[in-house]
């Protein structure tokens, strides 16, 4: 590789802009950082050679240089930003809340713009291949930028010679030249800088005062955090790291827990629904405006069972209680790596039992029977040899072209046809629907009335297993450390350069120039050293 020798004797890599040892601008390379057009030197990598900027020969090198560019990185961020924002214009497919298929829903609901939204794939944006590819490109850019800048920055920060070339000092943004500075004044300045926790190094009377060098590593640390988050995102795509299921369990029901390989069962012992009292003094004013009661608690009292010995699916397994507890919003129940979250409720939406009273013609009670929607009891014995036969049962009654039928298996609106028969009675049929009993024959002898109904709640639970969480957390913590380190601390340097009786003072910081200015100002207080001037302002 071609080497460049500086007049100070240091041998620099090709592409170096400022000599690594003394900082003198290297002729012929000044265009790389734009120093040929500005008086103030570009100090971002202290003029170190950056690989990507030096050669662009093979395809690999070109690709590398592409991803290494900040400009490309910013463009990718802007594209991701725009795409994400556009995705919120209309609801995503999973939130569309409609039975219509997406191909019709968007056009019907939102017209032409909805159709375009759907056809461009924005209805499923965040899992679409191109959005994921965009995020992946940002990830590639993160990795390559980090690799590419690590070495030059490391080299630049390692080579902190106190003695710099005069041109380097003169072309810093903060600079002043003072004549006839006494040695005491010089010492005062150095001591004042020391007091402000600058580290002082000296070489032939040249001084470098430096602090918070670690701040320069901030961007790398936070980018590593982001890379870890992206890796966690990849891990989460695998089933062994992350599964998600949803189950509706009715009160009293025991159900297999999805995504657990049929290993766990959950029982909904009871669902608790509570509302705020309208008498509550604190909220009286607000509750006056509410038509409906404001809920204060949704809670499933659940028992989790594990299958004791594996059985062939379909057979009733022997169950062993693992844990029991209350599942509330914001308070999931955790068992063996899985968590159950309160998610949905169908409040008192299904009939658990419907009880009837039966009387004979004289108004004497023949008894009552309790129809349980969940049990398959067909006959109910009454007194005096009377009995009930359930002939037809429609859990969610509706009438279609085919005649009476059920819309689903859930007893949300049960329709029951039953027959009362007795020793001297031909069967008399009744029809129950909508909390009302109607005889199906004219002038029945018996009289059947509704006694009571019991409603139960179905509780919707999200079942989650997510072992990728610690990785996300570690990534997030590292990111936060990185941004704090990079943005809350500042790498500051002051060079003191003696020259033929005068003293050159220059200052540099990667950001927060105002703070550096204040520090220098108070450090030269009481000396004859001139305050540095901001040479950028002059331009």
């Amino acid at each position: 590789m071609k080497k460049i020798k500086c007049e100070c004797g240091h041998i620099n890599h090709e592409g170096t802009v400022l000599c690594e040892a003394c900082g003198k601008p290297i002729e012929g390379n000044q265009h790389i950082d734009g120093n040929d057009e500005n008086n103030v030197l570009e100090m971002r990598y202290e003029g170190s050679a950056r690989r990507s900027k030096t050669y662009k020969r093979t395809f690999v090198d070109k690709t590398w240089a592409f991803f290494s560019s900040v400009k490309v990185g910013v463009w990718l961020i802007v594209l991701a930003l725009l795409a994400s924002a556009i995705g919120t214009i209309y609801p995503q497919e999973e939130f569309k809340n409609s039975v219509l298929p997406s191909s019709q829903f968007y056009e019907q609901q939102y017209g032409l713009s909805g159709k375009i939204f759907y056809q461009l794939g924005f209805h499923n944006l965040y899992s679409s291949w191109w959005y994921i590819a965009l995020i992946a490109l940002i990830g590639i850019s993160l990795v390559i930028c980090s690799i590419d800048r690590f070495v030059p920055l490391y080299r630049a920060l390692k080579n902190q010679n106190a003695k710099r070339h005069e041109v380097f000092v003169r072309r810093q943004r903060f600079f002043s030249e003072s004549e006839n500075v006494s040695d005491d004044d010089r010492k005062t300045l150095i001591n004042n800088l020391k007091k402000r926790r600058y580290k002082i190094s000296e070489e032939d009377g040249h001084i470098l005062a430096e602090k918070n060098r670690f701040s320069r590593w901030g961007p790398y640390v936070n980018h590593i955090g982001l890379i870890i988050i992206l890796i966690a995102g990849i891990l989460r795509m695998f089933d062994f790291m992350h599964t998600e299921g949803y189950v509706w369990v009715r009160e009293g029901e025991t159900k297999v827990v999805p995504t657990t390989e049929q290993q766990y069962y959950i029982k909904n012992e009871q669902f608790v629904y509570e509302t705020y009292s309208r008498e509550d003094e604190r909220f009286q004013e607000a509750l006056k405006n509410e038509e409906l009661d404001v809920p204060s608690n949704f809670q499933t009292n659940a028992i989790i069972y594990k299958v004791k010995d594996e059985v062939i699916p379909g057979q009733e397994p022997e169950l062993e209680e693992v844990t029991r507890g209350e599942i509330r919003l914001n308070e999931p129940l955790t068992f063996d790596g899985y968590s159950a979250y309160q998610s949905g409720t169908q409040l008192r939406s299904e009939y658990n039992s419907i009880s009837f009273k039966v009387e004979n013609g004289e108004g004497e009670e023949l008894g009552s029977f309790d129809f349980k929607t969940n049990e398959d009891q067909r006959y109910y014995k009454l007194s005096n040899g009377y009995q009930i036969e359930i002939q037809d049962y429609y859990p969610q009654f509706e009438v279609t072209e085919e005649g009476p039928s059920s819309f689903s298996k859930y007893p949300r609106n049960p329709g029951i046809i039953f027959e009362v028969s007795g020793p001297e009675l031909e069967g008399e049929r009744y029809f129950y629907l909508n909390e009302d009993v109607v005889p199906l024959i004219d002038d029945p002898v018996t009289n059947v009335t509704l006694e009571d109904t019991e409603l139960i709640t179905a509780s919707g639970l999200i079942i989650k297993k997510d072992f990728s969480l610690p990785f996300f957390l570690i990534g997030a913590v590292i990111f936060m450390i990185g941004v704090a380190q990079g943005l809350y601390w500042h790498h500051r340097r002051v060079w003191i350069h003696p020259k033929d009786g005068s003293l050159l003072v220059a200052g540099h910081t990667n950001k927060n120039w105002f703070g550096l200015k204040n520090e220098i100002e108070s450090s030269i207080d009481g000396t004859s050293i001139k305050m540095v001037e901001d040479q950028q302002e002059k331009l």
Binding site: V60, V143, M237, V256, D376, P395, Q396, T400, S405, K409
Partner: protein, 182 residues
Amino acid sequence: MFKNKKMRLIFRTVVLAALVITTILVLYINSLQDDPVLAEGDQARDFMLERLDNGEDIQLSELEGKGVMINFWATYCEPCKKEMPYMEELYQKYQDEGIEIIAVSVDKNKMVIDNFYNRYDLSFPLVHDKNSTIMELYQVQPLPTSYFINPDGTIERIVKGPLTLDRLETYFNEILPENNQA
């Protein structure tokens, strides 16, 4: 960092290749996310349920060597009920050639299945998946859904939605033991 350009080129190529492969892998896994748990070609999951007609247990794995149709249905599903007579008709024809049908009702109540059963004249095994365990196992979404299983226990075909007599017969032929051997 690198002694020569060649080393650096190799390093860059390796890093880029790793990143590109990861990206492709991610996109591939992402495209699989929507796929069902059980796909055509997979081994069918075993189960055992009690027959409603004669009270005997029927187990899928014991039917190995026969072509099996598992039909998920329910009494509240009109299209399901409409394909029952086709199934009965072809069952009569293919039963002796090594075809078995298991009609899995996902109803909640046995009573409603009994009522239905009494109205139709069906001879193939009918089982009741009361707690939706098998439905969960097979991740059944719409009703009816039918699984056609080869004599070796692999899933030949998954059909979501109702079937016609012709198609049903075609699918039976696909899973006929003798066709499989040939």
